[in-house]
């Protein structure tokens, strides 16, 4: 045991020495949380649009000012003809154009029927449909307001309640994802590289000819990263609660226990990679290409898994980050207890065990 502690101390010294890397290890989560929390939102707002008002009458101006008052839109002031409008779309200056035909008010009052044309830049389809929806509901509201006198018969009023995230903040979705991402990166990449580095420089031989168990040597390399990662978990949580105003609805203790489990999963993955590769560059490429992209894609925090083709959905089950993401979301945001996440926990535990057994086996073969 004393030997083990000595080994761990040596590993800590290694980690502390490389200040540039350390700075990035601790800086990365902070920057990411800030970017995800503040800069990225799935909400569409301040979209630049133009209103081509060929009517310039009471109704068109009232609708325009309602649109202008909405936070979703920024009405550009320039008056344009069709050609200029097309150019503005092509330059990416506007996302939408709303066209009131001449005599809009007239038609509305006398024929009881008027038309508005909406042109949306659908090269970004989701934004286009959201914007169209926003405009439609503003126009609908206006229509209802002018008809107040004549009450609309048989009205169905949908009452919408947004659960968990009433302001539709991006952070609710992203913070659990960033946690999975950062832990994955720190643990997998750093352990894999630091073990392979010892192989490359030949110091591994020295450790292996020493009387200590090779297993202990490998484990001692993982311990510092476990600590580093727990610090990262704590800093991510503190930032999300105090800077992003994100709630932690469930038990903090449970969250830490589950995080520790996930960290151990990642460490085993790092050990697995290091056993299988011989050069730092290869280890880097594998952990970056093999781990980073699948984590972003298949954990489900960026893109809904149910939209993917079936084979990809199956693959996503192999990605540990997916299960951790579900766990964090359940505890932090939905405030659920262990009974809701025992299945995910079990799967993570299984993956960890599998990875450790396989790496240990091939490690022994290597030694034999």
């Amino acid at each position: 045991m004393e030997q083990f502690i000595n080994f761990v101390k040596k590993e800590f010294a290694h980690v502390w020495r490389d200040k540039k890397t350390l700075l990035i290890l601790f800086g990365m989560p902070v920057i990411q949380i800030l970017i995800f929390g503040f800069a990225l939102t799935n909400e569409v707002k301040n979209s630049e649009i133009i209103v081509m008002d060929q009517a310039k009458d009471q109704a068109s101006q009232q609708i325009s000012s309602r649109i202008a008052a909405s936070r979703y839109f920024d009405i550009q002031n320039s008056v344009m003809n069709n050609k200029q409008m097309e150019a503005a779309f092509k330059k990416g200056k506007i996302k939408m154009a709303i066209v009131f035909p001449a005599g809009f008010n007239e038609a509305l009052l006398h024929q009881r029927k008027a038309q508005i044309q909406i042109l949306a830049d659908a090269s970004d389809p989701n934004t286009a449909s959201m914007l169209t929806n926003y405009v439609s509901s503003i126009i609908q509201d206006y229509q209802n307001s002018i008809d107040k006198a004549a009450a609309i018969p048989y009205l169905i009023v949908p009452e919408v309640r947004m659960l968990y995230n009433p302001q539709l903040k991006g952070a609710h979705n992203f913070v659990p994802g960033v946690m999975a991402l950062v832990l994955m990166l720190v643990c997998v990449m750093m352990t894999a590289i630091s073990i392979v580095k010892e192989k490359e420089t030949g110091t591994m031989e020295i450790l292996l000819v020493s009387p200590f168990s090779p297993l202990l040597v490998i484990l001692s390399k993982a311990v510092p990263y476990l600590f580093l990662s727990l610090i990262n978990v704590a800093s991510i949580l503190l930032l999300s609660v105090y800077v992003l105003d994100l709630p932690v609805n469930g038990s903090v203790a449970l969250l830490f226990v589950e995080s520790t489990l996930f960290i151990i999963t990642c460490l085993s993955l790092g050990i697995f990679i290091s056993v299988k590769t011989d050069s730092q560059q290869m280890a880097m490429l594998i952990s970056l290409m093999g781990m980073f992209l699948p984590t972003v894609l298949f954990s489900g925090f960026m893109f809904p898994i149910e939209n993917m083709p079936y084979p990809l959905q199956l693959i996503s089950n192999l990605v540990p980050a997916k299960w951790f993401y579900l766990i964090v979301k359940s505890i932090m945001i939905k405030g659920l207890g262990f009974s809701a996440i025992w299945k995910e926990t079990l799967i993570l535990g299984g993956i960890t065990l599998g990875l450790l057994v396989v790496s240990l086996k091939s490690f022994k073969i290597r030694l034999a």
Binding site: K20, T21, I24, S123, N126, R161, F303
Partner: protein, 372 residues
Amino acid sequence: MRTIRFLLEKEFRQIFRNKAILLLIIIMPVMQLIILPLAANYEVKNINLAVVDHDHSSYSQKLISKITASGYFKLTGYNASFKEGMKLIEADKADLILEIPHGFERNLVRENHQQLFIVVNAINGVKANLGGAYLGSIIRDFNNDIRLQLLPVSKFSGAAVIEISSSNLFNPLMKYKFFMVPGILAILVTMIGGFLSALNIVKEKEFGTIEQINVSPIRKHHFILGKLIPFWVLGNVVFTLGLLVSWLIYGIEPLGNLLVLYLFASVFLLAILGFGLLISTFCDTQQQAMFIMFFFMMIFILMGGLFTSIDSMPDWAKIVSRFNPVSYLIEVMRMVILKGSGLRDILPQLGTVGVFAIVLNAWAVWNYKKRN
């Protein structure tokens, strides 16, 4: 000039010598371009809906079948109580609950007014937003149907109606892949260029070969150019492959001029390669270079407008993204490929990226010290 020829000859030889890495450079982007758009699909459909129907009337049945017929929703639960519906949300089996209250049909007919309750799992903002909006408009349609059914035409036509005709320019079928593919291609070109160049000079430092260069009379800018040009060619090859893949597999043909596209990509590559070389001159080990490049890549990509729109960002983030070369590439790729924008339309972006290219490369030359 002659020196550059020898430098280029050497760099190309080294690139072609390492077949494994070369293969990786070529195959990986192609594979990713094939797989990523399938996975990165934000076309909002298959929204999981749980219905809690307390009414069991013909109206509630009609409404439900209208919703499922729309194609946006998948009925994953038909529950007796709201509590059961909530369980589905907690288990992520449902994204929305539609609760139809007891007496829905009766009240609507008698009292002219009836409420419906929609509960949305809003953790994922886009889904919540779009799902709520779709459901809202289906209910509006349903409402109109009911009205037409119940009222004599003449009476209802008394109210003023504003008809909205909306058209979706540039992507009338609203295909999300059309939006993602050019963006993903932009990211892949960036990653290849950025990582290769960042690792390159550092590798010469780690192996000690840079000493032999530093002690020779090679001019600094010749050396940097010798590094820049091979990766620039490689970047263009990857870019071309990417365009081919998106044409062959996704049927995306650039609407705009290919020359404009290549012109912009070429200038962009100079900028991102310059950035990689700059990082390379700052670092001592490949591990460091990798981590630092990774750090910037993450910011570039996440803030580049690939997944979320830059317009919706707060002001400080908008300013940051103005210094992000990747955001310009993503923007221009989409403009030229999807909207058919021409050279004049992209001049501001081209100019900015051009300035980046000059500054970053000049900085890399300046920061590459032949002696210390």
